[in-house]
Amino acid sequence: MSDIEVDILVPNQTRYLSLIGSIGEAIGRELDRYQGDREALAYHLNLVLTEALANAIRHAHCADVHKTVRVEIHVDPDCLCIKVHDQGQGFDLKALPEMPPDPCFEHGRGLFLIRCLMDEVEYQRGVDGNVLVMKKRLG
């Protein structure tokens, strides 16, 4: 069990992005165990939650408003871990380029930003659903 566990279920609608992002921001801002810039951490958690949730809502759940997205935020003494679950067809994270997309593309910067701002990012596919796991070291 982690030190702090926050488990969230939210309808599959982009109007809730700001709610979940703000919860992440509140956690970042209050995380007194983090030695770095807590305001920056707060913003970055807001961003990665927003990006990952938007992907689950649109790419995995095809914007079906009757579906639900589950988000977990676990905090241990030296690591913060965010999991965003989806029940979609999945995708291959390793196949995505590590570089920022060419300026002529309007899309494709979500996972790039997540990788920039988090220390470890993994996408696990499973029969019961998939999960994007994003970790940030706090120590």
Partner: protein, 112 residues
């Protein structure tokens, strides 16, 4: 997406009135740019000073406006980026694409 429009001799200033631009409102912003360009505006200056949060789809909407402006032989420039918003442009290297002013006043050549 709450937007205020103000005509200046050199620019059409588009002031975004929401603190957050994300996948929930970025399509509306994109359409707004499209309408302005279709109505004949050529030089859009987007005032981001009230925006404290932007995600990749917000960046995408601005990029869409920029490309669209180019197609119309116009341009789309940015002003008033807050530090964290600026960081998002830097990480994605989009700061090299846009003409960026520290404020609307700087862009329209006023002394500040």
């Amino acid at each position: 997406m709450q937007v205020e429009i103000e005509k200046h001799p050199e620019w059409m200033i588009v002031r975004l009135g929401e603190p957050r631009v994300d996948a929930h409102n970025s399509d509306a912003l994109k359409e707004r740019f499209q309408k302005l360009l279709e109505s004949g505006e050529k030089r859009l200056l987007v005032d981001l000073s009230q925006v404290r949060f932007i995600d990749s789809s917000g960046l995408g909407a601005l990029l869409s406006g920029y490309k669209n402006a180019n197609l119309h032989q116009g341009t789309l420039a940015l002003a008033g980026l807050q530090p964290r918003v600026k960081e998002m442009f830097e990480l994605t290297r989009l700061n090299r694409v846009f003409e960026v002013y520290s404020s609307v006043d700087e862009a329209i050549g006023k002394q500040s």
